[in-house]
Symmetry: C3
Subunit: 266 residues, 3 copies
């Protein structure tokens, strides 16, 4: 079956379900535990705060299990893993599974390097609620093909859609496949979210912070699919507006946070 | 006694003492050693540079004691501590005490997690010059009550004022209690600094970088109380102006640095 | 011989060689491996993306040698080294030498602290292609004199030019000396690049990200001298334009990225 034939729906802002889920996010400000890479920590925290969530980065072995238990959602992003981070991430994932804390895995650069590829395989054993990645990463994690160029995707999201669907079936996770069009799938349904702009690939952390925002939505939506859809629709809408006002990548970042922090507020 | 009755003074920009202290900061550009969390390192460095100080982040055991000796002030912020960071922070605090380097402790998320709560108690033994935190943190450190929600405060600053005063008396440190109104106290005097805006809680690092700016003021003011007051008044003034020009949290951050780097420059 | 007498050429935007090299950078988007300090990781990634390169931060011992082999260029910046980072950096530098991956060494705060000064000396044994630093750092590395104040230079770039030339002769590296005027030398030629602005010293990461951009240019230019010149000319041009539009240090950062991402795009 052709990838296009697999798409069963599409969403754009303001979709009523997304509006409702976003309202819940702002009402509940879910405490979102982020174990992410050192390039994007600041931007990720600012994205979550702008959207209305409550981010916290707790990254040491002595605290991580306790904090996963307190937190309402967890993000694990392997972008700049170290030896110690890998142990902390495994502990966090195991605790999330035990305590039923919903969590997102962002398998940055999966397939490109053995250490992280092995770690990602171990992390998946702890049943992430959502796996978010670009086409190269989803292809690598699903076993379809090996890696991209560094952290950037060399494949289109549509071409990776069959792999995303299979990964969802294999793992039980919702898979959020990022690209010019985002595709969200639980293995059965596939929701397309258009609106990504090339400029978003020229600002570091847009994909990584989308993973964090999906995590933040998990405790406030009725299904993980809706969480991934809501976060992706918000990102596309904020990106669309920001891109119109921006004069380059610096002002795009600023406008993107401005949009996220004001969208739907009146 | 009601908290409001305890307030003995208030300050807003342009207060003559603050103007004088700010002039000194810009003249002397004090070398300010920051051992802070990975979410806010960049913003903290940019805040100190904008205000006129000279920030430096030196974080490894082999260098930390030497650099505390060279530096004119030190900030220790436990936001994203690791096992190794904890040892480095204890070494830095011990050296600061030995070398009479004034220093600020920012007990992020005190009370919420045992490891950091214990570390904070140990750090306080090395006599910080100033302790800066939000209401939940100051309540936890003073022993009044346990923790907030993650890193964000769940109590108002006014409600925590008696705890702040008691903490100042117990430790000999000036306590800078951040909130919608900031309160600075040495246990006797209490200075209120109005002007905080809700948007500042939606940008990561505003509190953390205030701690760093207090540290930067310590070597140039006649008392630690004045250092904490000067930094807080500047922050409130810059925040006030930035908030008027901002269209969301992204432009707020930018305007805030613009204001800090130009305020009082004519 | 007076330093001024040593300058054999100067470059400003739009110089035909720089325009050509910049075109190549954008065409080839070289994968640039950055092992840099935690203050500037985000800004560095955004600078490289804005210019057109493909940055990746891989920092753990298990992955570093493999990734240096994959990457087209490497940056090592010792700004916030830890015990483990030092080992990783030595491994990365050794691998770069073995695999002929061109690399830039940024010896932040050389001379100020023994641990990093020793590490820098070891790293230089692996023959960096370019060494980039401010006057204090270049003076310290070349053995002329000891250190600056923290991470900021206390000497002018012109005064350090003889040291830069000697360092180039001693090590075989091109030396990129940053200051109000940048000087690039291979020991014989000296290219002056005017246009630095004081405001660039008030935004953290401008020097560090210049080092990263030099690394990105190395695989696409015919000589390392041209790579260092191209990056420095672009920085000066983007800084010049940004400074005219900026209202302080916050908007300067934003405008700087805007300029880098749009300059020469028509």
């Amino acid at each position: 079956m052709e990838p296009e034939k697999q798409v069963t729906g599409s969403r754009a802002w303001p979709h009523p379900e997304v509006v409702e889920d976003f309202f819940q996010l702002r009402q509940k400000a879910p405490l979102t535990h982020c174990i992410t890479n050192i390039v994007v920590t600041n931007f990720t925290a600012n994205v979550l705060l702008a959207a209305g969530a409550s981010p916290a980065m707790v990254i040491t072995m002595e605290e991580v299990a306790d904090f996963v238990s307190i937190a309402e959602a967890l993000l694990i992003n392997v972008g700049t893993i170290t030896t110690i981070d890998a142990e902390v991430m495994l502990k966090a994932a195991a605790t999330a599974q035990e305590t039923n804390t919903p969590w997102v895995l962002d398998p940055v650069a999966a397939g490109a390097l053995k250490f992280r590829t092995d770690l990602i395989a171990q992390l998946i054993q702890f049943q992430p609620t959502v796996i978010r990645g670009n086409a190269s990463e989803i292809l690598a994690v699903s076993g379809f093909s090996g890696g991209g160029k560094g952290v950037d995707s060399t494949a289109s999201s549509l071409a990776a859609l069959p792999a995303a669907r299979q990964l969802a079936v294999m793992t039980g996770a919702v898979v959020a496949l990022s690209g010019e069009v985002d595709y969200i799938t639980d293995g059965k349904e596939v929701i397309a979210i258009p609106g990504g702009h090339e400029i978003m690939t020229k600002v570091t952390g847009t994909g990584c912070s989308l993973g964090a925002l999906i995590a933040a939505f998990l405790p406030v939506t009725v299904t993980p699919l809706r969480a991934a859809v809501a976060a992706s629709v918000l990102f596309a809408a904020a990106g669309e507006c920001a891109q119109k006002k921006a004069h380059g990548t610096g002002s795009f970042s600023m406008e993107f946070l401005d949009q996220l922090s004001t969208i739907g507020r009146g």
